[in-house]
């Protein structure tokens, strides 16, 4: 990225955030709340104390991973929205391995994490192969696969891996397969290191290897890619696989790396929606692995801080959600326009 375009990106985001905040304050004034108090509560809620900062990061962990899934897809010229379903299966695999195999501490964590990543990777392969061999559009196939994953996971939790003592959830993960809590009192665990490390790894693959370069060429200019002899099946498969692993880690992180429940709700409540939130994260992070980390922290801050907006500033819960939504939309607009423009041109 050239410096000037980066500066342009930053100023665009800056402008977008101001517009978002202004629309939000406008809404609050209409409903008779003081926007300054509310935004102050939002900020202090997200970064006011050490616990709040850690909580912000805890909310950011799954989002940076699901955001990465979408970001890598866009970099390869794909619109991969299968993160949601891949994440369900990743979470399920983690709870099954972590809840049934009693391994020594370190090994248990590693096995459950790898199981999550692996099953999610397998799940992402089918749409990838359909795309490569039959040209099935990934938007269609991944949406369908999300629903298949939803019902499959619900079925498996309710009928095969349910907790016999409480019907609403799956078996619990054994203590040996849980990530360590970083700081008593917050829900942030060591899983954040795995998440960040994976984002950095993907950055190095995309910007430091030949196949990563090919992937980006294919995404930004398919004609040039074809002219240079880039094999589309290779880049498509790679993008899906990297994304699948990220989503699997995201799912696993919420089960074996997020207290206090350590199990999977039959409603899939602990992960539901994170995959789609990832779209927003990727757009705000300009589809860049490192940008995605920053964007996910921003997202996490909105989630964590918004409860203070509700609590301290007394803003209605529904209005709080509307305002955070507006800020997110405003921020994703610039990148969404670029992505859509490229997509339409194709």
């Amino acid at each position: 990225m050239k410096l000037s375009s980066r500066a342009k990106a930053v100023s665009q985001s800056f402008f977008a955030i101001i517009i978002g905040l202004l629309i939000g304050s406008f809404l609050m004034i209409i409903f008779g709340f003081n926007p300054i108090n509310a935004y102050y509560a939002l900020f202090v809620g997200a970064f006011g104390t050490v616990t709040d900062v850690l909580e912000t990061l805890a909310f950011a962990v799954p989002l940076m991973l699901t955001g990465l899934t979408f970001a890598v897809g866009v970099r390869a010229g794909l619109f991969n929205i299968g993160s949601e379903g891949q994440m369900y299966l990743g979470a399920l695999a983690a709870v099954v391995i972590g809840g049934t195999l009693d391994l020594p501490f370190g090994l248990g964590v590693v096995c459950a994490t790898l199981a999550g990543a692996f099953v999610s990777l397998l799940w992402s392969l089918t749409p990838a192969i359909l795309k490569v061999t039959r040209g099935v559009h990934e938007v269609i196939s991944t949406i369908m696969f999300n629903w298949i994953a939803f019902w499959l996971t619900t079925y498996l939790i309710v009928y095969h891996f349910g907790d016999p003592t409480s019907a609403e959830r799956s078996i619990r993960v054994l203590p040996s397969s849980r990530y360590l809590i970083l700081f008593e009192g917050s829900t942030l665990t060591t899983v954040i290191f795995v998440a960040v490390a994976y984002c950095v790894l993907v950055y190095f693959i995309l910007w430091g290897t030949k196949v990563g370069y090919e992937l980006r060429v294919e995404g930004s200019n398919p004609d040039a890619g074809r002219y240079a002899g880039v094999k589309v099946w290779k880049t498509t498969l790679l993008a899906f696989m990297l994304g699948g692993i990220a989503s699997g880690l995201a799912g696993a992180s919420q089960i074996i790396g997020r207290p206090p429940v350590w199990s999977f709700y039959a409603t899939l409540g602990n992960v539901a929606g994170l995959g789609f939130d990832g779209l927003g994260v990727a757009l705000i992070g300009r589809n860049h692995p490192i940008g995605v980390i920053a964007a996910s922290i921003f997202f996490g801050a909105l989630i964590q801080g918004s409860r203070y907006m509700q609590y301290n500033a007394g803003v209605y819960f529904e209005l709080v959600r509307a305002i955070t939504g507006i800020i997110i939309i405003a921020l994703s607009v610039p990148e969404a326009i670029t992505v859509l423009r490229r997509w339409v041109k194709k």
Partner: protein
């Protein structure tokens, strides 16, 4: 040429906006900071005066000063409010589960209990609505971190883990959980209960026995052979409802024999004892169609009333009734259905006999009361951290009840809840105007012979006096035994 100008224009506008934002931020931030410490009225007045001076002095100049004065005015309002609230009432925080406000049941009832506590004890209620499961811990912690909050109530069993996690970290705050089992989680970890946490459970089996008796007596009156119950997923919690209901129906038939000195009981009495109650586990708490199908089959067999033990599936039962009433042109039952958890009598007045009410509001109300009266810790100590509210239940030697069958006077509060939900969602919730609901419900109740209600009241007082014990089915063995007795 044009792009050059455009870029310059963009740059300048961005610069201007940055300057405005920084100034507004600094001023706003300054006033918010100062307003957190209570100030006297004199300062407020001076601020107001100076604001006016600034505004008048600079009306003709830049937009920056307008921003300044605007934020000053807002900050002034904040200062005043902080001042007036220096006499701080005890705050109680109610953390909902993901259902949130407007569910007309669990969460709304909890908020109702909090509102009543506000009225009676002068406490102040703060509501926090959880958006997803991962919000439970941070929401509880946010509430507990507020120095003014004394009591934090978690609503619903899904908050058990979160309460067990947060309560021990705030030993000087009180926590209560509705339907939760947080203490058992803490005990399994530390071998002792948390001294500041109270799990509140309810005696649903007793309430189910009461409506079972009501349904059976109605069946006798109309000479109908069956009563029914539609249940959700077959989990231990629901066994309490099933066996309680069957037991209550059986009790009622015996009561009728004693009361009228006869062995021949019409209607349901002729049906063999094991076939009197039609019961179906639908295997779902969300698929309303399943509730409709199950209820329809029961009404087709001429069941007089169907008890809803599957939350939203009650709407399916209601659908089945509406179909029948339309076909036959009925304005009031039979057939009837029976509501659960909240007072559901208003959903389709005339066709709902009554509701088995689980008073979530009482749980919140009592916990607030105990905090205000400084008894909370003793009550936790005396009960090892979990109490049961029901019929004739005692907490620390005093009677505190949490289960009842809805009466006409309960209807007002729940119609109000429906009105609030209409305001909140903008959708029509109530089937007819409030007054009409009350008239129809009253007429329906008066249409039943007085001994029907008398019988149910007799069971209630026998339970309260300890003359009879409603079986509490929590294990497979107990359930199998009672199914063997009563079908």
């Amino acid at each position: 040429m044009t792009p050059k100008y455009r870029r310059a224009a963009l740059k300048t506008s961005v610069l201007i906006i940055i300057v405005i934002i920084i100034i507004a931020g600094l001023v706003g931030g300054y006033y918010v900071m100062t307003s957190t410490t209570p100030t006297t009225i004199t300062t407020t007045q001076t601020t107001t005066q100076s604001t006016t001076t600034i505004t008048t002095a600079t009306t003709t100049t830049t937009s920056v000063s307008t921003t300044t004065s605007a934020s000053t005015t807002t900050a002034t309002t904040t200062t005043t409010t902080t001042f007036t609230s220096t006499v701080r009432p005890i705050k109680i925080a109610v953390v909902s589960d993901i259902g949130g406000r407007g569910d007309l049941s669990f969460n709304d009832m909890a908020f109702k209990g909090g509102a009543e506590a506000e009225k009676d004890f002068g406490v102040e209620m703060v509501e926090i609505i959880s958006e997803k499961e991962s919000d439970y811990v941070p929401n509880l912690r946010t509430a507990a971190s507020d120095p003014d909050v004394k009591l934090i109530v978690g609503v619903g069993y899904l908050l058990s883990d979160a309460l067990a996690e947060v309560a021990p970290k705030f030993p000087d705050k009180f926590f209560a959980g509705i339907d939760t089992y947080a203490q058992s989680i803490i005990i399994s970890k530390t071998n002792t209960y948390a001294p500041n946490l109270l799990d509140i459970a309810y005696e649903e089996h007793k309430g189910s026995a009461l409506v079972g008796a009501l349904a059976a007596l109605t069946a006798i009156h109309y000479g109908k052979p069956y009563i029914g119950v539609v249940l959700g997923i077959e989990i231990p919690v629901l066994w309490k409802f099933e066996i309680g209901y069957k037991w209550g129906a059986d009790w009622a038939i015996k009561w009728y024999q004693k009361k009228f000195g006869t062995t021949t009981v019409p209607g349901i009495g002729i049906t063999p004892i094991k076939e009197r109650v039609l019961w179906t586990y639908t295997g779902t708490f969300s698929d309303i169609t399943k509730g409709y199908e199950a209820a329809k089959a029961m009404y087709a067999k001429d069941a007089v009333a169907v008890y809803n033990v599957a939350g939203p599936l009650g709407l399916g039962i209601n659908q089945a009734i509406q179909e029948i009433s339309k076909q036959k042109g009925l304005t009031t039952g039979p057939p009837f259905w029976i509501g659960v958890d909240a007072d559901q009598d208003w959903i389709n007045p005339g066709f709902i006999l009554s509701s088995m009410m689980k008073r979530v509001d009482k749980g919140v109300y009592f916990s607030a009361k105990w905090v205000v009266e400084n008894k909370f810790r003793d009550i936790v100590k005396g009960s090892n951290g979990s109490i049961v509210l029901g019929i004739g239940t005692k907490v620390a030697g005093e009677t505190f009840e949490g289960i009842s069958v809805s009466t006409l006077s309960d209807l007002d509060a729940f119609i109000q809840m429906g009105l609030d939900a209409e305001k909140l969602t903008g959708k029509k919730v109530l089937p007819m105007p409030p007054d009409e609901i009350k008239t129809v419900a009253k007429a329906m109740r008066e249409a039943q012979p007085s001994w029907v209600w008398e019988g149910m009241d007799a069971l209630q007082s026998e339970i309260r006096n300890g003359q009879v014990t409603v079986p509490l089915a929590l294990t497979k063995d107990v359930v199998d035994y009672w199914r063997g007795q009563l079908g």
